[in-house]
Structures are given as C-alpha cells and as structure tokens.
C-alpha cells in the first residue's frame, strides 16, 4: 500500500487552503465542500481543528462495503479511489469508514475521498504551516 497523507493537526490554523486547492484540482472551482480533505473548526470548545481525509488504511472497509464495486485500485499508487462514473451514491462507504475518510459530494450522487492527486497531493504544496506532508513516491 502507498503511504497516506500525514497531518500534524496541532499546527493547523484552519485556513482551508488545502480544501480550496483540492476542490480546484478535482472539480475545477473553489468550493471546500467538494474537497477531499475536510477542515472542521471546533470552537470555542474544545478549541481545535480536525482534519478529515482518507488514510488509505490496510483494511479498506469502503471497498468491501461498495455494492457497485466503484472503489477501485490505482495500481501505480497502490491506493483505492472512487470511480465517480461507477458510484451509485448509496453512501455505504461513508457509513463503513471508521475514519471519516470519505463523504458524499454535495450533489449527493457520488462519494468522494482523497486520491493523492494521482501522486502529487496539492494540499501538501499549499499548506502554509506545513501541517500536511506526504512521503510517498
């Protein structure tokens, strides 16, 4: 398996530049709700940020849960990605993921999750506090 993104979330300032570039890269416009990385601001309590993204876990329950076999292997990177065309939007993967790693596109018609931008994760390149890193290939 390829390595997932890493995050030192304690240094996250909540600027959402990761989500902005992610949405631009994947859907061609700026819209953080269509990003594959989600930034939650939890204030005033507990007073911290939470970053949600697919950690490309070994057990990948999303793949097992998908009735349409829409979560497919990218052999080059060794990670599973959502084939938007094949996805029926049932949401089984969202329920199956214990890591809040995937969610529904706001249209509700398919699920979305991190695909490491095909090997050049854009969020890493834009994180001004270097919270995000990727030591894949």
């Amino acid at each position: 398996m390829s390595k997932p993104l890493k995050a030192q979330v304690e240094n996250c300032t909540g600027c959402q530049l990761c989500a902005l570039i992610c949405s631009a890269t994947h859907v061609g416009k700026f819209e953080p709700k269509q990003s594959r990385i989600g930034v939650e601001d939890l204030f005033p309590e507990p007073g911290e940020f939470k970053l949600n993204f697919c950690i490309h876990c070994e057990e990948h329950p999303c793949v097992e849960s998908c009735p349409a076999e829409a979560i497919k292997l990218n052999e080059k990177l060794g990670i599973y990605y959502v084939d938007k065309e094949a996805c029926t939007g049932c949401g089984a993967c969202v329920d199956a993921c214990p890591y809040n790693g995937c969610w529904m596109d706001p249209s509700g018609s398919y699920s979305i999750k991190c695909d490491l931008c095909g090997g050049k994760p854009q969020c890493v390149e834009v994180c001004p506090k270097k919270v995000l890193s990727w030591d894949g290939e």
Binding site: C15, I21, D41, F43, P44, E125, P128
Partner: protein, 615 residues
C-alpha cells in the same frame, strides 16, 4: 464577460417578509468593484438622506467582493454597510473568518435588507435560494449559542452565521455583528441596525463554489504568491510570530498607548497585557481566517484564577489598548474575559473599552457613584467590576450600563457636568489605540475617516511614532492620509484583508485574473479615489462637513505626562493646516465638500444632481 461574482443579490423586505433575487449591477461593478465600493454605490442610491439609522427606513447590506471565496490569499472578508447609529455617517465594518466565502458559495454577492420585521427573524441563504425564518429560539441568546442552534435548525453542520447578541437586540449603538464566534464586524453600531429591524442573523450555506478562468494557471499563480508574497514576505513577520499584540510594546515605547481614559500614553502595567504575556499565559493556538497563510489570530484560554476557562481569539491590539491600558487593566486574563463577553454579546471592543475607561474616569472623579453602577466599585484597574461591564452595557442594566450602550459621547451628553470633554472621539466614534499627541497625523486620520474615528483608513503612525519620521511635523501627513484612504478604498472593494501587505500591482493582477477587469495600478487608484469621493459625498449629503472633521479638545489642551510624548499635544493650528492641505489634495472645497469638478473627474458626475450643496 466578468467572472468572480455570483451575479446575484439577495433582497429582503422585512416589513412584508419577502425575499427576492436580482442580478448584481455589473455596470456599477466595473466602476466600484464590490465590497466597500459597490456597497457604497448601492447605499448612496437607495438610502434617503436624513434617515434615522435605527428606523425601518435605514438600509442594511452585507457585501462580499469578487476575490472572496477564491484562493487569492487573505480575501475571506465580508463587509456590513449601512448608515451608522453611532456616528450618523456611512458605515462599512468588516470581519474575516468564514462567513464571507460561504455567502458566495450560497450564491450571493450581497444581501440587501430593508424595512422591519414584525417579529424576530433570521435569513437563511442556501444554494441560490433564501427564506426568512422565525428567530424565536435564538432571540435573547448570545452568538455562541445562536450559532449552535441555527446550524441545527437549518440542518447544515458547516453553515456560517453572522448575527447579533443581546447588545444589538437592545439597540446599543456600539453593538457589532459577530460571525464564527470570535470574528466581529464591530465598529459603528451595525449590530443595532440588525436589532432595529428585528433581524437576528444571516445564515449562509452553499456548495455553488466560485469559478475563475483558466483555473490551473490561476492555482499555480496563487500558490506562488502564497509562498513568495504572504509566507515569505518580511512585512508579515510580526503578524506571523505575534499578531497585533506586538504593538502594545511599540506604543508603550512611543508613549502613545492610551492609558486611564487617555490621561497618559504609557502604562506601568503594560508587561501584563503585551504579546509576551499573551503567549506565556493564555495562548492556545494560532487561528487563521479563510484563505490566509499568515494566521495572525491567537486562540486564547484563561488557565486559572477568577476568569478561568474564558476564551477569545486575540485579544487584538485595539482591545488590549482600549479595554486594557485605557481601563488600567494589568492582567491579560481579565482582557480575555472582557473580549469573550464582547464576542458573545456582540459589542465592539474599541467602543466598549473606551466607554468603560470613560466611566472609570468619571467614577473616580465622583461624577457617578455606586448608585449608578449597581454597586460596582468602578475604579481604574478593578478587574472584577470591569469584567461585568460588557453585560451591563449589552443588557442595559444599571444606569451606567444603559447610558454607555448609547456610545460614550451620547452617554456624556446625558450625564452632563462637563463630562463631554472627557470623551475621546471623532463624530461620536471612539478613538482607536494610537494617541495623536505622539503622532499628530493620527488626529487627521481620525477626523477624516469616513465612518468616524478609525485607524483602518489611514495609519500615519507607522511612518513616524513607529518609524523614522517626525511625529509632530505636519509635513506629508495630509498626503499619507490621502494616499492610504485611496488604497484602502480599492483594497476593501475586492475585499483584501488589511494585513496583506500586497502591492497595488499584485492586487491588480489578482483582480484581473479573477474577473477579467482591465485593472492596473492606475485603474485601481482611480477606483479608490472614486469610492472615497462617493462616500464623502454621502456624508456631506447627511450634513457633515469641516465643522465635524475635528479632534477632541483634550488633544490640544492636555499634554501627555511621560516618555517620548511628555509635554506633547496636537497644536490646533497644526491640525487646521493638515486639514486644509488634505482638502486640497482631495479637490474638496474649504468646507471639505467634493467640488463638481472633482466628482466629474472621478467618474461621479451622475450623482451631482443628488447633492443639494452643489445646486
């Protein structure tokens, strides 16, 4: 085709409880961009002169700008534009955070609200649609609870809320609008305008996004600018390491830190409220607004003592000055508590801090007593009494709370006994935390600020008290004010954050990339001059002129007692000289009114028939 805008404005008629949408006037957008400029144009055209700001006839707007919601760094802002109940002037008051982008993702460049609802309501804007909803579950509640409840009511975990607490509901003229719990469009009493309309909040949620041409090239450019011009920009270093609290020490050293209701420019307790104290005693983490690589904000929490558990973002320099040294407060923990109360109740910390400092001054002079304060021993530095003041003001409890809710100037006029002399303001808006007696250009900046005393229209203090220039020379001060007011007028029409030290050329590049408008430095300058002249014409139409562009008497008559400013005042003849020069630079007459020629030159010829003084 112009891009970057949603192209839609949400109209809300509260009297008839109706919402509608209309196209954004793109002919106007090409002349005024958005934000401050475009909002000023709409307000000038739609507000009748002489309207009581707290009457249903006032117009309340929330504007975004074309860059908001994109990856252009530090463009998270929205602006509330209305006629100010504090100063009676044009009002534009800004907040960062996440609300501005969300309003655009919800499909709107702006929300324009008129009339008054028969019952408390809130506006819900979602993916190009909007509705008015009953606010009975949140009326009377603070903004922390309001945000939580309204997100649940609309069923959107990531909905953003801009609204008012108890201060706005009770029509305090120093009430602001809060979003994201700690971000405030604080100045000028915008919160009271919400309250006067029975409008609790605007809730935005959307996934429409913002599109720009050639997005791949655009992203590359924005990425490069982020690293080179934001993270790597030496001008941002202090903001990245400390944020605005770094200014406390600079002001103490320059002896312009307002202390004990402006009776001194130095505070012997400054070490308890400066950036080092903040970092050591209450700092939790850095917090950024949307699209910002600087993250000047510090989320702070009090660890122990009387105010244990209190949280805020900041406190920022203005709060540390007005609500800190100016109230004789020596401990950062007490200021965190005060700021938390102001966030929650939605009070402007500059005006509230100034008001409490004033109240402490007249309490110590025996003009008010414990009978007026509900038993509080309101001496300078009494943290326990001080921390209760935001609630007394917002809820109009006790005589002094009810008076200060009107703003310091009206409070003093009602109290009488010559207390008006103790109020440090211009046009009723309390001074921010830079004493002009140690930077005389600030007296001009405050006097000529379009929304009443303000530091965010021009900041000559940077070049003298904090720099190499002579703080007591009149030379170049009018030009600094003129140039910075021009710059801010276009910068806030896009809308950039004040803290992005971005060149005019780069602003033009960003605007051009997002909108396709033919922006360059010269074009932007023309827009800036047009916007500032328009806003001045608005204020003149409301009756303002040279007679109102003044400084408080104490700036001339009461010398500061210590440090670099010992014995210093602002000489009235210097002030008048700067003002004359300033009017000339702007092409205004000797009463500070834009002439026909100036308006025509600025592309404002069409408003001349609406200005009775030019007939």
């Amino acid at each position: 085709m112009v891009t970057g805008y949603t192209g839609k404005i949400l109209r809300v008629d509260l009297t008839n409880e109706k919402t509608s949408t209309e196209p954004t006037n793109m002919d106007w957008a090409k002349k005024f961009i958005g934000g401050k400029g475009l909002g000023a144009k709409y307000l000038f055209e739609e507000l009748k002169p002489g309207v009581d700001p707290l009457s249903p006839d006032n117009v309340l707007m929330i504007w975004t700008g074309p860059l908001v919601g994109t990856m252009v760094p530090l463009t998270s802002r929205y602006v509330v534009i209305t006629k100010s109940p504090l100063s009676g002037t044009f009002l534009d008051t800004y907040a960062g955070g996440y609300f501005g982008p969300e309003l655009k993702y919800a499909g709107f460049d702006a929300v324009i609200v008129k009339g008054k609802a028969k019952r408390p309501v809130y506006i819900y804007a979602n993916d190009g649609n909007a509705e008015l909803r009953d606010a009975k579950n949140v009326w009377g509640k603070d903004m922390v609870k309001t945000e939580e409840i309204l997100r649940k009511e609309v069923g959107q975990k990531f909905a953003r809320v801009a609204g008012i607490g108890q201060a706005g509901e009770k029509l305090s003229r120093i009430a602001g609008v809060t979003s994201d719990i700690t971000r405030n469009a604080g100045r000028g009493g915008a919160g009271a305008v919400f309250g006067s309309k029975n409008l609790k909040a605007v809730v935005a949620s959307g996934s429409l996004g913002v599109e720009v041409p050639k997005i791949d090239e655009f992203v590359e450019m924005a990425k490069q600018m982020l690293w080179k011009d934001v993270v790597g920009n030496p001008d941002h270093e202090g903001l990245i390491t400390d944020g605005t609290p770094i200014i406390v020490k600079m002001s103490q050293d320059a002896a312009i830190l307002p202390t004990n209701n402006w009776h001194s420019g130095q505070f012997d307790g400054h070490e308890g409220i400066d950036s080092a104290a903040l970092k050591e005693r209450v700092y939790v983490r850095k917090k950024a607004c949307f699209s910002c690589g600087i993250a000047c904000g510090s989320f702070a929490r009090v660890r122990d003592g009387m105010f244990k558990g209190s949280v805020t973002e900041g406190p920022e320099y203005e709060t540390l000055g007005l609500a800190g040294s100016n109230c004789g407060i020596r401990n950062i923990e007490a200021i965190v508590k005060f700021a938390e109360e102001c966030d929650r109740l939605c009070l402007d910390t500059i005006s509230a801090g100034a008001a409490v400092g004033f109240a402490m001054d007249i309490y110590e002079k025996g003009i008010i007593t414990k009978e007026d304060t509900g038993g509080l021993d309101l001496k300078f530095g009494n943290e326990e009494a001080y921390a209760k003041m935001p609630e007394l003001i917002a809820e109009r409890k006790t005589r002094i709370g009810d008076l200060l809710a009107e703003g310091t100037l009206i409070a003093a006029r009602k109290i009488g006994k010559d207390t008006e002399k103790l109020v440090i303001h211009s046009k009723g808006s309390e001074y921010p935390a830079y004493d002009p007696r140690g930077s005389i250009g600030m007296a001009l900046a405050y006097a000529t600020s379009d929304r009443g005393a303000d530091h965010n229209r021009a900041w000559p203090v940077a070049g003298d008290a904090y720099g190499d220039g002579d703080p007591w020379s009149t030379e170049g001060k009018a030009a600094t004010c003129h140039d910075e007011q021009t710059l801010k007028s276009y910068k806030w029409s896009m809308i950039f954050c004040d803290f992005y030290g971005v060149s005019a050329a780069n602003q033009a590049m960003f605007l051009n990339a997002v909108t396709g408008m033919p922006a360059d430095e010269h074009w932007l300058k023309e827009v800036g001059e047009r916007v500032w002249n328009l806003v001045r014409a608005f204020n003149v139409r409301e009756g303002f002129s040279r007679k109102d562009d003044t400084m408080p008497e104490r700036m001339a008559t009461e010398p500061l007692p210590s440090g670099k400013t010992q014995g210093k005042t602002v000489r009235p003849e210097d002030f008048e000289k700067m003002l004359d020069e300033y009017y000339q630079l702007w092409g205004w007459d000797d009463q500070g009114r834009p002439t026909k020629a100036t308006l025509e030159k600025s592309g404002l010829g069409d408003i001349i028939p609406n200005l009775p003084y030019l007939k």
